[in-house]
Subunit: 458 residues, 2 copies
C-alpha cells in the first residue's frame, strides 16, 4: 500500500472530441470523430500505452439543454457507456474501464448485471461511477414529471449501491465445481437469494452471473454536495470531483477523508481524483496560445447553455458584463452550482468571465504551461492533501491526450510520481484497493446510512 | 429481393458450451469455457468465416429453477447480452449481432439507447430480440410479487416496441452539420421530442444518440403464442420459433405470414427462422453415436427442471413411465407448454421420453445424420413454406458449430442455397430488409394494436 500511495493515479476522462466546449470547432479536430467507435478504441490504447489507471466516461440520460437551444454543440453521448466499455475491453488488456450509470432510472438488478458482465469480459477491469440524475429532462424520459428531490435521490442511491453489492455477493467465489462425472456444475448452497425488501427496492436475487472477477467492480462516486460526500464516505473507492483551486481541493479532500474515517473505513481506500484540464506545450507561450485559440472559438450562447445545464441557472436574461446575481438553490446539481457561485465571487468575475471559465472545463481546474509547470501543479496538489490522483480532461482529442502522455507523463516519471508499467491484472490491483470479502461490508454500511431528516448539516 | 429470398438464412444461436442440457458433461467439452469472453469471440469469428447472417443470444433475468434445484447445470448467462454483443462487435466485421432484451423490466429509453449504441459501434449490425419475461422468479427481481398476465405482457410489449422506434426516429438521418465556422453542430429542427404518453409509458425524448446506422436495428421476436404472433405481425422482421416437425412449422409459417399481410405489411419482410439442433458427421452411424452419447449423459432431474422452467409444469411428482397428464394453462410460457403437450400426445410419449426429447433442444427440431441428410432437412423446410432460414443450435460448442460450418455449409452452397460471402455491410442489407424511413411505420402500427378484450381467438 505504501508503494501505491506515493504514486499519482491518472484517469483519462474521454468526452467526445474533447472537454473544451469549442473543441469540435478547433481546426486540428475532426468533429465527426466522436461518432466512430474506432476513435475511442485508439484513445483507450493511447492511455493504456502510458499506463493510465483508467479511462472514464460520463453519462446523462437526456439531451442537454432545452429544445430551442439544441445544435450549438454535438452531443457527446454517441455511445451508451456500458456497451462502449465492453467494446474497449476487447481491444485493451490492462487499463481500468469506468462507466457512469445513474442510480435514478435503471433497475438495480440490471446495473448489478451490467457491471458483473463488464468485469468478467474485461478480466477484472470494470468500475462503476455511481451518480444520480439531476435534471427534469432526464426524469421526463422515465415517466416522471420532475426529478426527485436531491436528498431523496441520494437516499435511494445509498440503498441502491448496497443492493447491487449484495447481488454481486450472491455467488460465492468458489461456487463452481464443473464436476462432469457427478453432474454437479456448481454448489447450490454457495448461491443465495438476497431477499432485499427496502424502502425503494424489492429484489429476490440471486444474480444470474457469478461473482465478478474483482469481487465488486470498483465503486466510483462523483457527487460533491453534502449528500454526495455522505454517499462517497459510505460506499465509494474512487471519488471524482470538480475543484477549481488548491484551497478548495484541500478543503474537500480533508473533509471527505474525515468522513470516511468516521464511517469506519480506511481513508487510504478512498482515492480522491479531481478533474484537471491541461494545456501543455514545450514553451509557456505555445501553451497559452493553444488555450487562447480555443477560448476564441467559444460561442457565448453555448456557455450560457452549459451554465444552465449544470446549475439550473437560466442566464439568458443576465447582463453578461455584470456580476452573477444571487441564485436560488435547486434540486438539481447542488455542488456545481455552488462552485460557480463561489468562484465568481472570489474572482470578482462578470457573467462573461464566469462563462469563459466554465466553457473550458465546466468548473474543473485548468492548467496552462510547460510539462514542468503541469507536473508542478499535479505534484503540489498530490503532496499537499488535495488529491490522490487526477482525472485528466483533455481540451481536445486526440491531441490533448497525446500532448499529456508525450510531455507530462515522462516528467512525472522522472520525479518518481507515476508508474512505469502496470503492477497488476485488475483495476483494484493497480489502484492498490483490496478485493472485498463477501458480505464483510454489509453490517457496517447499509443500516448506518442515515434518514434524510436525521442528518445534521455538515 | 428475389435473389435474397431464394437463399437460406442462417443464425448461430450461441448458448454457453452448447444447447444440449448435457453439453457441459461431454468429454470433448471444456465446461468452464462459457465463462471466457474469448470463447464467444472465437465462436462469432467461426460463424462469420462461414458467412452466417447472425449470432444470436437468449436471455433471462433470473436464475433458472427453484433454489433447491440449482447446481445441475451451469448458468448460461455469464455475460449480459448487450455488453457481450459490444465485445463481439469489436472483433468481427460483417456478421449480424442479435441480443435478447425483455420488454418487461428495462425502461424503454434505456433499451432504445443500448441498441442505438450497439448499432453505431457495430457499423449497423445490431438486432434486438424482443421478448417478454415469463417467470415469477424474474418478476421478483424487479419489485413484483408475480409476473404480469400473459396478454398484458404482450400489450405492454406492443407499446414498448413502438416507443423504442419513435426514439430511434427522434433524430433525422441528416441532422448533423458539423459546421465549424458557423458553430452549428447539428440542425436542432431535425431533432424532436417524442412526447409519448401511453398506457404503460410516458417518455419525452429525444434519444441522446443519433439515428442508428440501420435506421432501426433489426427487430426480432421470439414468442409463438397467439399474443406473440400478433406482436410479430405488428413489428417483427425476424421471427425465431420452436417447431418440432415440418407440419407444425408449415402451419406456423403460413399462419404468421397471413397475419403479417393482414397487418398491412409485406410477408417477405418478416423472415421466419425456426431453431434446429444438428448432429452431423460423415456417416449416419457416427452422427447417431454422437447423439446417443450426449443423451446418455442427461440427468433426468435436470430434464424435469427444464420441463418446469419452460412450461410451469412441476413434474417431480409424475410417473416417469406414464403418459403426460392434462396440464393447466399458466401465465408463463404458453406456446412452449403447448408444444410439449402436443408432441407428447402425437408421439405417444411417456414423461421420460418427453424429457429425453426436450433435454436435447428444449422442443426445437433435432436432426441427426450426414451432411446430405441435414441439408435435405433444411432444404425441405425452406422449399415447403416452413422456414426462411434457421437458427442453428449446436448441441456442443465449439464442435457442434464447426461440424456444421465444415460439413453442412459447403453442401448447402453446392445446392445454391447459401451465400458464398456477405452481400452488404449491415445486417439489414445481408437479410434483404429495407432501411426504415422515419415515422413511415407509425400510423399503420401502434394505433392498430388491439385491446386484449377485442382480440378474437385465432
Amino acid at each position: 500500500m505504501a508503494e501505491h500511495k506515493r504514486k499519482i493515479r491518472l484517469g483519462a476522462f474521454l468526452f467526445g472530441v474533447g472537454h473544451h466546449s469549442a473543441a469540435w470547432r478547433a481546426p486540428d479536430v475532426d468533429p465527426k470523430a466522436g461518432q466512430r467507435i474506432g476513435f475511442y478504441q485508439e484513445l483507450a490504447q493511447i492511455a493504456e500505452a502510458a499506463a493510465f489507471d483508467t479511462v472514464f466516461f460520463a453519462d446523462n440520460v437526456a439531451m442537454h439543454g432545452a429544445p430551442g437551444q439544441w445544435g450549438g454543440a454535438p452531443p457527446v453521448y454517441f455511445f451508451e457507456p456500458t456497451t462502449l466499455l465492453a467494446s474497449l475491453a476487447a481491444v485493451t488488456k490492462r487499463i481500468g474501464l469506468i462507466a457512469t450509470v445513474s442510480a435514478s432510472y435503471t433497475p438495480p438488478y440490471q446495473t448489478a448485471r451490467l457491471f458483473a458482465s463488464l468485469d468478467h469480459l474485461s478480466g477484472g477491469r470494470a468500475g462503476w461511477n455511481l451518480v444520480t440524475s439531476g435534471s427534469d429532462g432526464e426524469a421526463a424520459n422515465f415517466g416522471l414529471k420532475t426529478q426527485r428531490r436531491h436528498a431523496d435521490r441520494y437516499r435511494l442511491a445509498g440503498e441502491y449501491v448496497d443492493l447491487v453489492r449484495k447481488l454481486w455477493d450472491s455467488w460465492d467465489d468458489d461456487a463452481f465445481r464443473f464436476d462432469q462425472n457427478s453432474g454437479v456444475a456448481f454448489d447450490g448452497s454457495k448461491v443465495r437469494l438476497v431477499d432485499h425488501d427496502g424502502e425503494h427496492f424489492s429484489v429476490r436475487g440471486p444474480l444470474q452471473i457469478s461473482r465478478p472477477v474483482q469481487g465488486h467492480p470498483v465503486i466510483v462516486q462523483a457527487g460533491s454536495s453534502d449528500d454526495g460526500q455522505r454517499l462517497a464516505a459510505h460506499s465509494a473507492e474512487v471519488v471524482f470531483t470538480a475543484q477549481p483551486s488548491l484551497a478548495s481541493a484541500q478543503s474537500f479532500y480533508r473533509g471527505l477523508k474525515q468522513q470516511v474515517l468516521a464511517a469506519g473505513r480506511n481513508p487510504d481506500h478512498v482515492l480522491i481524483m479531481p478533474g484537471i484540464q491541461p494545456f501543455v506545450a514545450e514553451t509557456r507561450a505555445e501553451a497559452e496560445d493553444k488555450y487562447a485559440r480555443l477560448q476564441d472559438l467559444v460561442d457565448p450562447r453555448a456557455g450560457l447553455g452549459m451554465l444552465a445545464a449544470f446549475s439550473g441557472i437560466d442566464a439568458s436574461q443576465l447582463d453578461l458584463d455584470g456580476p452573477l446575481p444571487n441564485l436560488p438553490e435547486t434540486e438539481g446539481w447542488k455542488s456545481r452550482r455552488q462552485l460557480f457561485v463561489d468562484v465568481a465571487q472570489e474572482q470578482h468575475w462578470t457573467v462573461r468571465q464566469l462563462i469563459a471559465f466554465i466553457s473550458a472545463a465546466r468548473g474543473h481546474a485548468v492548467v496552462v504551461g510547460t510539462p514542468a509547470d503541469v507536473a508542478d501543479h499535479l505534484e503540489a496538489w498530490h503532496s499537499q492533501e488535495a488529491a490522490d490522483g487526477f482525472n485528466i480532461m483533455p481540451p481536445t482529442l486526440p491531441a490533448g491526450l497525446t500532448d499529456f502522455t508525450r510531455l507530462v507523463v515522462p516528467e512525472l516519471r522522472r520525479r518518481g510520481l507515476f508508474r512505469e508499467h502496470y503492477e497488476a491484472e485488475t483495476l483494484r490491483g493497480n489502484l492498490g484497493l483490496s478485493r472485498p470479502v463477501p458480505h464483510s461490508w454489509t453490517p457496517a454500511s447499509f443500516p448506518s446510512f442515515p434518514q434524510t431528516d436525521q442528518v445534521a448539516a455538515q
